[in-house]
């Protein structure tokens, strides 16, 4: 395993935890609704070729839940501050699900520090006539079954959730609460975002699980149509978390995109 460290910095009054490990070009990974759960295999794999920075968003994990946090717009401006504070340059930005929404909102606001963008099953837009899955109506077990195509992984997740300690349970609830706050209505999207996605000029890779039951693959196609020059890769037999379920294909797409710069 690549060595990594956990640090806490204060941005706009908010104590923010991030993990950092690996060597190479800077890569900022923005997590989805489930949060960062330690130095996961996908972070370790990315750290083979990049200097990986994986923060817990404000309101998630061990990061504080600041009073000013109301929307994904707040989150996007927060990350502009975050990158400025750490003096990050030429950042390969990756976002999954909720993190993909945040990543898109960051880049339309300012891409001075951004070198490439990778969106994996990103929230943020709405495709009329293609309903999203409603995670807020699912039990933990239903969610695991729908998030993963491979039901063996789902079984492992369900078993693991039954042995969580109190702190892990609290973090899980905190993540769930903040996700609700940011994405309840409009559900998991910003109606204005699709108007401005043409502002994304950096090389963009869109990765989607063919069997995503939260944001069906049509969402990937819509993102691909809205971002100039983007590339879409739809991964077969894959659910909502390609970086966890199909790591090789995910890494391949990331490398392919970052090498375009």
């Amino acid at each position: 395993m690549t060595s990594h460290k956990a640090e806490i910095i204060t941005i706009n009054g908010c104590d923010t935890e991030y993990l950092r490990g690996g060597k190479g070009p800077t890569l900022l990974f923005l997590h989805g609704a489930g949060g960062i759960n330690g130095w996961a295999p996908y972070l370790d794999a990315l750290a083979q070729g990049y200097d990986v920075i994986a923060p817990s968003h404000p309101g998630f994990g061990r990061s504080e839940d600041p009073d000013w946090l109301d929307s994904v717009s707040d989150m996007a401006f927060f990350y502009l501050d975050f990158m400025e504070y750490l003096e990050l340059q030429d950042v390969h930005l990756i976002g999954n699900s909720l993190g993909g929404w945040i990543a898109s909102e960051i880049v339309i606001r300012g891409d001075e520090r951004i070198k490439s963008l990778t969106l994996a099953s990103a929230a943020g837009i709405n495709v009329v006539g293609v309903p999203m899955g409603d995670i807020f109506m699912w039990s933990n077990e239903e969610a695991a079954r729908k998030i993963f195509f491979d039901q063996e992984i789902a079984n492992q997740r369900i078993a693991a959730s039954e042995t969580m300690d109190e702190e892990q349970k609290d973090v899980q609830l905190k993540n769930y609460f903040t996700t609700g706050k940011l994405s309840w209505n409009p559900r998991f999207h910003n109606p204005d975002l699709s108007k401005w996605l043409h502002r994304i000029k950096v090389p963009t890779m869109i990765i989607w699980g063919e069997n995503d039951e939260i944001f069906p693959a049509a969402y990937g196609e819509a993102y691909n149509a809205l971002i100039p020059g983007s590339e879409l890769r739809i991964i077969p037999e894959c659910g909502h978390l390609p970086h966890q379920e199909k790591l090789e294909e995910f890494l391949d797409a990331v490398h392919s995109n970052t090498s375009k710069t």
């Binding site: 807020f136 109506m137 905190k174 769930y176 996700t179 309840w184 209505n185």
Partner: protein, 387 residues
């Protein structure tokens, strides 16, 4: 003691077999037949009017959305209908769900209109609405508490401050708050807060600036007693003595000639209520942010676990979520509980789930004639307090 008759107006014609997962949010309205609904609305209004004739002090309606549990999404409409057909009873709306609306002034207006039409017979209930409503109305549960307090402040401002005034909140903003009509009652109608008893609600409702009636709804008796005592203690902390009218208890109740007969006649219906009409998974009831993380965990542990099992009438009677029996049994229980918690307002839900019109009326009549007179003298302000 003041007695009120509360109606949920359930869609009792529902095919119970069709309620498998839930009776809420996405339980299809193809299960609703308007012809049956027409009859039910009129029957239920008759029952509320009958309560007025029987001498109940209040008749109560409330708000729920997208459910067979209660078909009163807009309770002020029915309160308006009742206001011209009743003479004496207070009309209690328990209550409008403040955070669900984008414009709380519309609630201030509805309430003020009913108060004017009835010459001051309105009791104004304010609630947040249960978790399910936040799925149905897509209002962000994370803002529920903030919006509740802001909407409350706005309504009170509209009722009590000569307009026009400005209101600048985070969720609601108005340049000209200047409501016509103003409420009939001075300074405003009595305010009741139906509650499951969160600490925040008790602290807020009992505050000397408010002294709102906390109405404990459909909770196990130990929980009701604990919360009423905590409310009274909070009043002491604030430096005044809690008055009985500040404490209300709402629960389903059924009276018949004997204990055995009461159980026999109500068994099926109260079990339908708690096992069918109430049915909703945790995720439906507890959307993220609706409560604090700690309350969420506590509710999950206590209430949700309890509701996972089939609730028999015996269990419901044992833990005081349902009172049922002969008039003397019911009166004794209510008196015993009154001593334990000091409530001065009793709100009975005399119709529940599938209970038919005849049995509803029989129980109401027996309650009003044989139970109410025995309890009138308790739960009234003490002389010392009156001074």
């Amino acid at each position: 003691m003041q007695f009120s008759f509360f109606h949920l107006m359930p869609y009792s014609a529902v095919n119970l077999e069709a309620i498998k997962h839930t009776a809420w949010i996405n339980f299809s309205n193809s299960n609703y037949d308007p012809k049956k609904g027409h009859k039910l609305y009129n029957r239920y209004l008759d029952e509320l009017e009958f309560a007025d004739e029987l001498g109940f002090d209040g008749i109560c309606v409330n708000e729920h959305h997208q459910t067979a549990y209660g078909i009163m999404p807009q309770p002020s409409l029915l309160a308006g209908a009742l206001s011209r057909r009743t003479e004496n009873a207070k009309i209690c709306i328990l209550g409008r769900a403040l955070p669900l609306t984008e414009n709380p002034l519309s609630i201030a207006e509805e309430y003020a209109m009913i108060d004017n039409v009835t010459g001051g017979r309105l009791i104004a209930g304010f609630v947040r609405g249960i978790g399910c409503e936040y799925h149905s109305y897509m209002v962000n549960p994370a803002n529920s508490l903030e919006r509740f307090h802001e909407a409350h402040d706005l309504i009170l401002q509209a009722w009590t401050q000569p307009g026009p005034t400005a209101f600048e909140g985070k969720h609601y903003r108005f340049q000209y708050v200047n409501m016509w009509p103003r409420p009939y009652q001075e300074p405003h109608p009595p305010i009741w807060i139906p509650s499951q008893g969160s600490a925040e609600t008790k602290d807020w409702a009992s505050h000397p600036d408010r002294k709102y009636t906390m109405l404990m709804t459909f909770s196990p008796i130990n929980n009701v007693i604990r919360n009423m005592n905590a409310y009274a203690e909070k009043c002491e902390e604030y430096g005044y003595k809690c008055q009985p009218h500040q404490l209300g208890w709402a629960l389903p109740l059924y009276v018949a000639e004997t204990d055995e007969k009461a159980i026999e006649e109500s068994r099926e219906h109260i079990q339908n209520f708690f096992n069918k009409f109430v049915l909703a998974p945790t995720e439906y009831r507890m959307p993220p942010g609706y409560s604090s993380i700690n309350s969420y965990k506590m509710i999950l542990e206590n209430k949700m676990k309890f509701r996972e099992q089939f609730l028999s009438i015996e269990m419901l009677m044992d833990n005081g979520m349902f009172i049922c029996g002969s008039p003397s049994t019911v009166a004794e229980k209510l008196e015993e509980y009154q001593e334990a918690m000091g409530y001065g307002n009793l709100v009975i839900m005399g119709q529940f789930a599938t209970l038919d019109h005849e049995h509803t009326k029989k129980s109401m009549q027996m309650f009003s004639e044989e139970v109410m007179p025995k309890l009138r003298h308790i739960g009234v302000p003490t002389v010392a307090a009156a001074e």
